[in-house]
Symmetry: C2
Subunit: 239 residues, 2 copies
Amino acid sequence: TISTITMSSFAQFARNSRKIVGIGRNYADHIKELNNVRPTEPFFFVKPMSSLLFKNQGPVLLPRGVKVHYEVELAIIMGKELKDVRESETDRIYDAIAGYAVGIDMTARNMQEQNKKKGLPWAAAKGFDTFQPISDFIPKEKIPDPHNAELWLTVNDQLKQQDNTNLMLFRIPRLLEHISGIMKLEPNDIILTGTPKGVGPVVHGDVMKAGIRVDGKEIAEGLMEVKVEDRQGGYEFKL
Amino acid sequence: TISTITMSSFAQFARNSRKIVGIGRNYADHIKELNNVRPTEPFFFVKPMSSLLFKNQGPVLLPRGVKVHYEVELAIIMGKELKDVRESETDRIYDAIAGYAVGIDMTARNMQEQNKKKGLPWAAAKGFDTFQPISDFIPKEKIPDPHNAELWLTVNDQLKQQDNTNLMLFRIPRLLEHISGIMKLEPNDIILTGTPKGVGPVVHGDVMKAGIRVDGKEIAEGLMEVKVEDRQGGYEFKL
Ligand SMILES: [Mg+2]
Ligand SMILES: [Mg+2]
Ligand SMILES: [Mg+2]
């Protein structure tokens, strides 16, 4: 079962994962910085499993013609199936969560902006290979209150994002009510809970580091470092 | 390996599948019927694995407040990894395809229309549980030319969709160049190649049947029949 997950087995674990769900616009200041409209209910996109990038699996690759942004997020790792759960059923919800991870929801921002204008899916802009770097598995006990933890991200050791998860507009029970009322959540599913303010571009040669702190203390499993490189070949985005 | 897939093992096979990619707007008359713009290059959305519905797994469930449309499509089942393939590499492409299936890309049309207007993802509108009924696995040999097969769908035995796959705007090699240049395709991945004209709503109590004919002959593995019922509980869409 999920409770036996260790750091070393997480890549194997996530290879059995079937779904990556990304929540959009869940921090007010991030909504403002992209001039987006605040949602009246949660919404999500789906990232393909092929976008996952584990520790030491290599760099994030920037597709040709694409402006790529980082978005550091708290990831929920499901441990049990959850279907049609209500926000108020917090015991059932937290019992179904196996633990957490830090994820960087890499986003092809210029493609996404064009797709938004045209009313097209976000799938490609969110789904390139290597677009979902993820930390080791963080056992649930290490983050006793997932709405009181500090996410951070640096690029070339310059601080870009640093905010507390208490700024989430829709909290985890509300997110899981929304998602599980549409699609059943299954063990090993990964849910990205949205990014705080400070998103921005990366270019070839950059190094991203990210992590999560509880009570000012770094959670070792959440620490990640990943290089950024230009991708050779493949799809080229043209406006 | 994939070549050993039999009808009875397909549900197991697809449970190992990691990605469902749906191509949008790939038949001219379907683009017209929804007043959509013809794309200058292929585009896709990603459906969650949890939306898959195999033969005899039960009905398609209609979420509350949602107008659900059927879209019959030729599904490609991948047998080998494919990454950054060029349209011209047809041998490599067809060698990487394990076979086909008939799929019904169920779509929450009113949600999708609202999401298009707001520039939001299509993931929820395409991703409800049971929204991806799929036939048995069709070995590659049974459809020697995937661009010369007739897709059909009936609702309550009334013919709603019937068109030849030779009407695809972007053919399979072009689709696979596009997708594999963004996300590597992996064995067991499922690609929906778009729907011909004739899409429309289903309501509680309806029965959908679908299939595919080659040279006027029904392919047994492609035959499917699935009921439609209202879903109890879960997400309710409100305009
Ligand atoms: Mg994000
Ligand atoms: Mg989408
Ligand atoms: Mg479709």
